[in-house]
Symmetry: C2
């Protein structure tokens, strides 16, 4: 199995440039990078006017099993319930493997 | 200005695994990587069941002006008109810069 790039592009409920936005991005980085298997975590600004989503989290997993372990990890599940759901207005996930 | 990652995630009109699919991906790679300013061109399979898009092209530009030159380049404009529009069923563009 190839290395998998897991991505989620999203827009927050918080105003652009707000303290709440900065806090969310910083907390997400600290929380998600502490979960085993997460490699090369990056926060990107989404800058194309062809989408109204504003940020992307990108991370890599060595294989499908490392990705599944992350998805089910209690820290990830709690982050989704306590931060993602209340603070994210819209999102789209994509996962990539090199052809 | 930061380095920009230009991405488009898409689904073809061609059946999965078809010769037409292989031809499109190969022609796109050959055509687009010949345009000045295109760096680190990659073809990815999109594997998340949370999207029905099947592929992604990813490329980098040194800055906004290199990206604009690519967008307006006659080779790119012709590729969009002659191959992208007739062969692509659905797509979403996102452009990313590191925060």
């Amino acid at each position: 199995m190839s290395r998998i790039q897991h991505t989620v592009t999203f827009r927050l409920n918080h105003p652009s440039g707000s303290a709440a936005e900065t806090t969310f991005l910083g907390d997400a980085r600290a929380t998600l990078t502490a979960i085993p298997g997460v490699e090369d975590f990056r926060v990107h600004a989404q800058v194309s006017p062809k989408s109204d989503l504003a940020f992307q989290f990108s991370m890599f997993f060595a294989d499908e099993s490392a990705y599944a372990a992350y998805d089910q990890h209690p820290t990830h599940v709690a982050f989704v319930a306590e931060r993602w759901v209340p603070e994210v207005a819209a999102f789209q996930e994509f996962d990539y493997v090199v052809v």
